[in-house]
Symmetry: C2
């Protein structure tokens, strides 16, 4: 398939960004491609369009599937597997956040809990214990919050985001709290 200049720019940039946070370029490009063309494609067509080896496409798709970012479909009269991705940006966001939390936050929480429970942890300096405790508490609050937020529909989510810092009006003692210009 021939890509327009605009589609190319988008896909290349997406691949570039992908590698900036741990997902390899081809994986990110395939996802961008499926997002852009908005129709099911089979492995062969993806490989041709992006100029990468089919094996590469195969592995990348497996990875995308494991993250639930692309799903397998079929088109009538073609027995090849086809793949597509959701066009709902909010749903994609939810999936990505969920995955990153699992891979980046959860293991750290586990380690911090183990440390706190270790027999010799009590002997550590107070600052160290205190800092680890703060870190753990922080990650736990963050986890609960993100789990709850991600359970909401995109519509509610966008409303909350649009509220912005306005939510501070709803928490007691939150007045006069703006820190504009204190640290930059």
């Amino acid at each position: 398939m021939e890509l327009s200049n605009n589609a190319q720019t988008f896909i290349l940039h997406w691949g570039e960004m992908g590698s900036r946070w741990g997902v390899n370029r081809t994986v990110a490009q395939i996802h961008a491609l499926l997002f852009a063309v908005a129709r099911p494609m089979h492995a062969e067509e993806i490989a041709e369009t992006l100029n990468v080896a089919r094996s590469n496409v195969s592995n990348s798709i497996k990875e995308l599937q494991s993250w639930q970012l692309v799903k397998l479909t079929h088109v009538l009269g073609d027995r090849r597997d086809h793949f597509e991705t959701s066009g709902d940006v909010w749903e994609l966001f939810r999936i990505i956040v969920k995955g990153r939390k699992q891979r980046e936050i959860d293991p750290t929480i586990a380690v911090l809990r183990e440390l706190r429970a270790a027999p010799d942890f009590g002997k550590e300096p107070e600052v160290f214990k205190h800092r680890l405790g703060d870190t753990l508490e922080f990650l736990e609050v963050l986890t609960i919050w993100s789990d709850e937020m991600m359970r909401l529909s995109p519509e509610t989510l966008v409303k909350i985001l649009r509220l912005g810092a306005g939510v501070q009006k709803f928490v007691r003692g939150g007045k006069g709290d703006d820190k504009s210009g204190d640290s930059s």
Copy 2:
């Protein structure tokens, strides 16, 4: 400096996690070390403690400084540069979010805006234009929201996070919106 087992575990894990989101192991380890010991250290001591080359420490610290995660200090009677990091987890979080947004979101917003403004963009298929538009809108809302949130004090922030999805009560039309069990 001799590290306790607990401190070692923490630092090694932090380094491990670091490499999971694009920051190299040594950089993450140095940050973890400074966080754990909670006092200024000079380059030499850092290198000895972590068993890495001094040049490596030098470069890593430069990177951490550019992200405002460590700052330079001096201790009396010692002309060497010493380095320390904030013990305030919330402040660290704010700095990290800010940096990641700059490096991961801002460039994408710029590209999407350019695409939308390109002379031949109007000729693109409707779905494509629509999807890019959605993506841009999403990233813009997210940016505004995070900018505003990050301006709040840690105390307010923790209150809001603790509210969790409870914030939905404050947005109109948010009732009956829970999606539990719809997609997993």
